[in-house]
C-alpha cells in the first residue's frame, strides 16, 4: 500500500488534489481512496488530506501517519508544523516553492521535487489554486501514476465540476509543473516536533467547556487567541491603496470579511496587514479602482 499525506491551506485545493490522485490510480486499475481532515476554520487555515493506493481493496480508514509521499502545497507550513513527521526514510516529497530541493529543509532527507506551483497557477488559472500544478510534480517524482492518467483524472474531476475549459487549463498547469519540477535531495536538519501542544488528561480539562484567557503549555487559549494567530501570514497578494483615488465610500471597510480595514477619522482607510488574508474583496468592490492587489504577501 502506498500512502500520501497532503499539507495545504484552505482554498489551495489539497482535498481535490488527493481525490484526483486517487482517481488517477483507479483509472490505472488499482484501488484508492482520499479524504480530508480540517478544522472549523476558513480559507487559509492549515488543512490535511490523505490518499491511499493499493492493488487490493483498502479497508483502513485511519489517517496517514507514516506517508510514502508527502505533498506540501504551502511552503510556509514547514515553519509552523512538522509536516514531514512520520515520512518514511525512503519516502518522497513534493513542495510548492521557488527554491531548489537542496534549499528546502523538511526534517527528513528524502528525494524531493520542488516546483513554483504558485507561479504556474497564477499563469494558467489566474488564481493561487495550486492543486493541479502540484499533481504534475507528483507524477514527475513518483511512478505511482502516469502523467497521462493524472491528466485524465483532472479532466474527469475538474471537467465535471467546473466545465471543459477549466479542465483544459488545469491540465495545462499539471503539464507545466511536470516539466518544470526540479528533483533532488532535500535537507533533513529541522527537528520534527510539534512546538505547541496542550493535551490535558480528562481530569485537567477545565470544567464547563469554558476557558479564561491564558496560556496552556505554550498554547493561547480563551478569548484573545486571535491576537497571537496572525492570519495575515497566509496572504499571497496584498492590497495597494491609492488614497488620491479614494472617494471614501467605505465599501471596502464594510465588506472586508476579516474586519481588518480600519476607518480613519476622515473616512480614509488603512489595512491591518497582520490579519489581511489578501482575499481581494476590497479591490473588487472599490468603484474607483483605488485598491490594487499586488502579488506576494508581506510581513
Amino acid at each position: 500500500m502506498f500512502e500520501v499525506r497532503f499539507h495545504g491551506r484552505g482554498g489551495q485545493g489539497a482535498v481535490m488534489a488527493a481525490q484526483t490522485l486517487a482517481e488517477a490510480a483507479v483509472i490505472e486499475g488499482r484501488h484508492a481512496h482520499a479524504f480530508p481532515f480540517f478544522g472549523a476554520e476558513r480559507r487559509g487555515a492549515p488543512v490535511m488530506a490523505f490518499a491511499r493506493i493499493d492493488d487490493e481493496k483498502i479497508s483502513i480508514k485511519s489517517q496517514v501517519y507514516e506517508p510514502d509521499l508527502l505533498v506540501v502545497l504551502d511552503e510556509s507550513l514547514i515553519d509552523i508544523e512538522p509536516v514531514a513527521r512520520g515520512l518514511k526514510k525512503d519516502g518522497k516529497a513534493v513542495v510548492n516553492t521557488r527554491k531548489s530541493p537542496q534549499e528546502i529543509d523538511l526534517g527528513v532527507e528524502v528525494e524531493c521535487a520542488t516546483v513554483n506551483a504558485n507561479a504556474i497557477a497564477l499563469e494558467f488559472l489566474k488564481a493561487p489554486i495550486v492543486n493541479t500544478a502540484i499533481l504534475g510534480a507528483v507524477a514527475r517524482i513518483t511512478d505511482l501514476v502516469s502523467i497521462g492518467s493524472m491528466k485524465q483524472a483532472i479532466e474527469n474531476r475538474f471537467g465535471e465540476k467546473f466545465g471543459e475549459a477549466a479542465a483544459r487549463i488545469n491540465i495545462g498547469a499539471a503539464e507545466a509543473a511536470y516539466e518544470q519540477a526540479s528533483v533532488g535531495l532535500c535537507q533533513g536538519r529541522r527537528p520534527l516536533v510539534i512546538k505547541r501542544e496542550w493535551l490535558p488528561d480528562w481530569r485537567d480539562i477545565p470544567i464547563g467547556n469554558s476557558l479564561s484567557a491564558g496560556i496552556k503549555d505554550g498554547v493561547m487559549v480563551g478569548p484573545g487567541g486571535a491576537r497571537q494567530n496572525l492570519t495575515g501570514s497566509w496572504r499571497m497578494q496584498t492590497p495597494h491603496y491609492d488614497q488620491e483615488k479614494c472617494v471614501r465610500c467605505l465599501r471596502c471597510w464594510f465588506t472586508c470579511p476579516e474586519g481588518c480595514i480600519k476607518r480613519e477619522d476622515d473616512d480614509h482607510v488603512r489595512w491591518d496587514l497582520n490579519y489581511c488574508k489578501g482575499c481581494g474583496i476590497c479591490s473588487q468592490v472599490c468603484p474607483v479602482t483605488a485598491i490594487d492587489m499586488i502579488k506576494g504577501g508581506s510581513r
Partner: protein, 391 residues
Amino acid sequence: MKVRVISADHAVAYAAKIARTEVIPSFPITPQTLIVEQLAEFISNGELDADFIPADSEHSVMSIAIGASAGGVRVFTATSSQGLALMHEMLYCVPQNRLPIVMANVNRSLGAASGIWVEYNDSMAERDSGWLQLYVEDNQEALDATLMAFRLAEDRRVLLPVMICLDGFILSHTVEKVELPEQEEMDNFLPKYDPLNILDPADPKVINPIIPPEYAMEMRYQLDRAIEHSREVIVEVEKEFAKAFGRSYGGLIDTYRMEDAKFAMLTLGTATGLARRTVDEMRAEGKKAGLIKLRFMRPFPFKELCEATKDLKSLGVFDRSVSFNGGGPVHTEVAASLCNVPVTVTGHIAGIGGRDITPRHMRDMYDLVEKATKGEDVRKVTWHGLRGDME
C-alpha cells in the same frame, strides 16, 4: 410547615419559589402550564423576586436558561413533551457546561399519536443528554424532589442539571395533601448558589468553542465521571433532607417488602403506588411479592439493582414508553445491569398515551412475574391492556 391540598404542578412551583429561583424562562405547554402560571403569580404578588422571561419557543427557553445560569444565577423552568423535544439541541449543552439548571418535565406523550396525556417517551428520549433524571410518585415527592434537586445540582462535586419527571394529569392536575416547608427551613437547607464559571465582562471567557478531536473525548469522560460521582451526593442530600424535613425517599431506588421477596416488579412514576397496593394484596394471599421503585434513571442504579434483586427468582419491569422493537427503555437498561444476576427479567408495557393503568393491569403484571418463578414460559415483553392478541 403548613398543609395544603394542591396539585403537583403547584407543589413544584412552590418548591422553585422557596428555592429563591432568580430567572424563570418559560413557554406554556399542557400539562406543565400550571407550574409557570403559578410562578408568574408568585412574582406578580410579590412573593418571589425573579425575572420571568416568556420566550418564543422551548428552544429559546433552554437557551435563555443557559445564558442566565452561565451568568451566575439560579434558574428554573418547566416543560412537557413536544416542548422538551424542541429543547433537545440545547439540553445537550447544559451538562457539558456544568450548569445546575433545574427543570420539571411533566410527562406527556410525544406525538405523533399526539395527545396531552402521560407517557414517558418525551423524557426517556433525553436520557443520554447528561441531565440527571428522576421520576416521582406523588405530589409530596414532586415538591421534595424539586427542593433536593437544587441542592444536588449546585453541589460543587456535581454541577449538573436535574430533570424532575412527573406524570401529566395524574400528578400535574391532581390535588392531594402536601406539606409545604417554610421559606426559612428551605433557606437553611439550600445554601446561596455559588457558581463555578460566571460570564463576566471583567474576566472574559470563551464558552462552547468548537472542540477538535483532541479534547472532546476527555470532556465526555469527565462528564461521565461527574454523573457517576453524583450518586454519593444524591444519598447525602437525601440524608440532609430527612434531617431537615423529616421525609426520605431512599436515594436512587426505594424498595417495598423486598426482605424475603421471591418476585417483584420494578416501577417508576405513579404506577408505583398501585404496585404497593398489589404487593399488599398478594402478601395477604401468602405470596412473596416485592417492589422496587426506580427513582433515578440517571445516574442509573446499577449496583443498587444488583443488590436488591440478588435473592429474586423473577423481576418484572414496568415501562410507560416503548423503544420500538426493543421493549421498554427501562426494561432494556435493567436487563443489561442484571446480566450477571440469576433472575428472570420480563418487560411490562402499560399506560401508553395516558391509557389508565388499573389495579387489574398491575395484578396481571405481578401474576406473570410470579408465573416466571415457576419456570413457566412468559413473554419477554407484554403489553398490558392491548386490544387484540399480541403476536
